[in-house]
Symmetry: C2
Subunit: 308 residues, 2 copies
């Protein structure tokens, strides 16, 4: 089983409007509601790839109830082990401008989590780890949790002997990296913020010095750069694809962990991650991946060993 | 008892952000959730003025549940006689730009109402009218209802001998006006759309020819213009007030109907409506009225009889 953790889950709303114009009133033509939060996106892709997948994290309030209902409806292969909290799960509103295709986002902060709720979550997390091959810790932290919360979860997973991937940003990434996760998956900005370096290879090496055993940095349409103790690789899709990049990073995480669980070597894991990522950009619905495109891309992603 | 009808009730969300910038991601600092829809605003003001108030209309889904919970919490004097429907009550998102104070609105369309649900609502409406002194029909229509829906409700109220005020726009206003409501309360734009005239006095007279027994047109900070079979009046607040005009028109409706229920003559009703409207603009929270300001303004609103 692969476990995913989403501490700041969300009810994602997508609004389509003819054109976004600040300081005016927009009649929303079309609404979509779906479960959001990076760990839940990872879980959906893992389940679609046929892996036993358990999603935990924190949910609360009416928006939390709506999220769970949508999760059961849209990702039936994902076991819902979300832990209830008193506050209300945040909404995110993505307003899609039909004239330009651009998106304007409004993200609520999320519920304030108490110390008691955090302790209760950790208990559930420890239990779930006993059956897990790997765990993905993904996304932002809700209010109330300290910046060291992911570091605690990394430490617990490492102590339990479970392979742990961390995908977050800022101070929670810095602290989580310091306690030696098996892999971190920053994008270019997150990697620069962590290390102070803008050159990808330098930055990835520096991130390993900060504590990560391996670094898989995502560079949007250019693909992935992996620096590990077995070598350094670049995984590049055959072309640049136009589309919606929402969830592309989460699909890459699912690719890495599913490959690990199947005993694939780094180059094959990276090929899968890059192919899933590109197939997500190509999918008509944000955050889903295009199964046919994934199949086509998998053999065409180029994975090249790079100089250290 | 005064009855208010809100066919397209809403869960109103207010987001505060430092600055609205299209095609970027905004972290929302502060969220407020409250019951919305013009008839519910009218009901809240009526209850605050001490009137027995019953709110009916249509609600559904999790957003409808949230609306009812907030209504009970924020307007305990309002009797909730809302009728459940299968679809989900719409959300409205008001994004307040802290740098300018301006608001960007995103309004969901509302639930699609079936013919069976509409028939069930009409049954409840007829029963509630038996105990009502007056009824306010307010706001837009949800999908599924014909543009003649308010005309049906006006006709039923008139047949039951209940004084009926209609506050809507476009085709529903045109059709509703044709079946002789006691009063309509358009703003300047709605009145122009109804009559084709831009000059306020001409337009108001024309609206009476369209079928309304009386017309009370709201002209923002300039106050109200009333054309009735007892005379024509202008009600002007003592100054122009800066603030949030949300709910100012709904407060005017509450002023008119509470005055009617108390047996006040037109000039006193208009003074109350104009004072409540200005006191709503002055209130710190959108849609509430400032009680102290209302008291001060009531004696200072100027109501002048105008030439026909």
């Amino acid at each position: 089983m692969i476990l995913t953790v989403t501490l700041n889950a969300a009810l994602d709303l997508t609004y389509r409007v003819p054109r976004v114009q600040p300081h005016t009133t927009h009649r929303v033509g079309e609404i979509a509601e779906r479960p959001g939060g990076k760990g839940l996106n990872v879980a959906r892709v893992l389940a679609a790839l046929g892996h036993d997948t358990v999603a935990t994290g924190l949910v609360g309030g009416r928006t939390g109830d709506a999220l769970r209902t949508h999760l059961a409806g849209t990702a039936p292969g994902v076991v819902d082990a979300l832990v209830p909290v008193c506050g209300q799960t945040r909404r995110t509103i993505a307003v899609v401008d039909a004239s330009s295709g651009d998106t304007t986002m409004f993200n609520e902060p999320g519920p304030t989590v108490s110390a008691q709720e955090w302790a209760r979550f950790q208990g559930v997390y420890r239990e779930l780890l006993t059956g897990a091959r790997a765990v993905a810790l993904c996304g932002s932290l809700p209010p109330g949790l300290s910046a060291g919360s992911y570091a605690e979860l990394v430490h617990i997973a490492r102590s339990a002997g479970v392979y742990v991937l961390l995908d977050t940003s800022g101070e929670p990434l810095r602290r989580g990296t310091a306690v030696h996760p098996d892999v971190i998956k920053p994008n270019a900005d997150e990697l620069t913020q962590l290390t102070g370096f803008t050159e990808p290879l330098h930055a990835a090496h520096q991130a390993r010095r900060c504590g990560a055993h391996a670094v898989v940095a995502s560079h949007g349409p250019q693909g992935l750069l992996a620096v590990t103790d077995e070598g350094t690789w670049r995984a590049s899709p055959p072309a640049r694809y136009e589309g919606n990049p929402t969830g592309a990073g989460d699909a890459a995480v699912a690719g890495l962990l599913s490959g690990l669980a199947e005993g694939l070597e780094w180059p094959q894991r990276l090929a899968r991650a890059a192919a899933l990522s590109a197939a997500t950009v190509l999918a008509p619905a944000a955050g889903d991946f295009d199964t046919a495109a994934y199949g086509r891309l998998l053999s065409r992603v180029k994975v090249a060993k790079a100089a250290e």
